[in-house]
Amino acid sequence: MLFTLSRVLKFGIQNFFRNFWVTLATISVLIVTLVSVNILIILNVLGKVAMTEVQNRVDVSVHFKPEIEESRVQTVKIALLGMPEVRDVEYVSIDDAMKRFTAQFKGDDSIVAALGEVGKNPFGASLIVKARNIDDYPKIIAALGEPSYTNLIEEKNFENRQMMIGRVETVARKLQLFGFATSGLFLFLTLLIVLNTIRVSIYTRREEIGIMRLVGASDNFIRAPFYVEALLWSASSLILCFAIVWPAVQFGQPFLQRFFGTSTVDLLGFYTANFFMIFGTQFFAVCFLSLLTTKMATARYLKV
């Protein structure tokens, strides 16, 4: 048994190195497939980061009429905080609203001049409401639409942010779809290439296989080296894929953080924390795929 196993391994390794260029082509396709899967994973992570970032920035700004007293605004704030959907409510006083406006348009002389012409603080107090969940905003907005509030409120803004969330969601979904389609295509190509590589390998070894059959080698002994070969392709492609993806993630991390304007984009941390999950799953998946294809190819082309 041990002799048989060691010889199966020996023949499998021989196959792997014997058809060098075909092996190289097969491993290259497997690498492209694995890299495309990793791009899909990265897109997924980035999509989630983008969504979280946008969601964190979403709020409902409730601007009260300038004549409304602070105590009434505080009453509304307490009422809102009583809602289970509301995570936080920030009160912005009339003075704070003025300060924020002037700070925002500090360089714009015409706006500062226009504000001077008004002569007094034209702003009303406002409340910035954050929901626990993005889906809770419609409920909060509906609550603010009640008659007891409408005569206090001058303006509520939420619509524009909703559009932004919608857009981010659409882009993330499209990117994911594109990623799936690309990975699917590479997967199909991988199947074809592996199938044909085994076919070439069988052709190259046809005399040896013929002799094996004549001298009484078992079916399993003849087939097994092709499975060893497939496992070697899988392991090599995963190692090389890791050698590409890991430095790429390290290299790209600062650029992504700059692009998203936040340090919450931590791809490297994500890969480190989920190393065995990510590469382990990919290893088992690529092994399963290549072994399945080998089974198909040997069943079709290897007559024993």
Binding site: F3, V215, G216, D219
Partner: protein
């Protein structure tokens, strides 16, 4: 030892390989199967090693009915029958020793057993001094002797030689036939498929003549008839 009972073999759509063949080959016999090309000699050999299955009839080897042998049992049968073909079927990247050892390696034999048996087989065929050479560095006759050594390593009860001298000159042909006679003298049944008139006539052993898939003659000390 070998018994064919009403054996027929038809290849689709309706090409006849063998037709209603009845033959009994006893242990230790040296039998020549002769006939012109395409008469069914090779079909006879292929049926013996279960390369083909009969369309009708029964083939029994050593009490084992191989007419409907399972594919998983074929390797066991082939370890009991040594096969030699016209094309030497050697592995060019392996030495003579490795070519012979290959038959044992692929059947799971231990290294100790290989080291014990292979030199003996090479000695029987007279290639002990050329064990380290590659097939391209030895003659056609020597290559065929190497193949016979490979067929001997399982210590088979039967040797099936299908046109083993087809690619050889007269000198090498004589060497191969002498070797087969020597193996037969050790008690191994030899089934020689050939259309070489001189070889058959010189052997003066049992000759079965096949024509158009039928046995037309079976003589104990026969001659090449066709």
């Amino acid at each position: 030892m070998i018994r064919f009972k009403n054996v027929s073999k038809t290849y689709p759509p309706n090409t006849i390989g063998l037709q209603n063949v009845n033959v009994h080959i006893r242990p230790g016999e040296f039998v020549s199967i002769v006939g012109q090309s395409g008469t069914g000699k090779t079909t006879f050999a292929k049926l013996l090693i279960a390369e083909e299955r009969p369309t009708r009839g029964q083939i029994v080897i050593g009490g084992w009915d191989i007419s409907a042998i399972k594919s998983t049992e074929v390797p066991l049968l082939r370890r009991q029958i040594g096969v030699v073909f016209q094309d030497f079927k050697s592995l060019p990247r392996k030495t003579v020793y490795e070519n012979v050892a290959f038959a044992l390696e692929v059947c799971g034999a231990s290294q100790k057993r290989i080291k014990n048996i292979v030199p003996q087989a090479l000695k029987i065929v007279g290639l002990a001094s050329k064990a380290d050479r590659y097939p391209k560095h030895i003659s056609g006759g020597e290559q065929q002797r190497m193949v016979i050594a490979r067929a001997l390593v399982h210590r088979p009860k039967i040797i099936v030689a299908d046109e083993p001298t087809g690619n050889l000159d007269s000198l090498n042909t004589r060497e191969i036939i002498d070797l087969l006679k020597k193996i037969n003298a050790f008690g191994t049944t030899v089934v020689l498929v050939t259309h070489n008139r001189e070889v058959v006539n010189e052997l003066a052993r049992r000759v079965i003549t096949i024509d158009q898939g039928r046995i037309v003659s079976d003589q104990e000390e026969g001659k090449y008839l066709l």
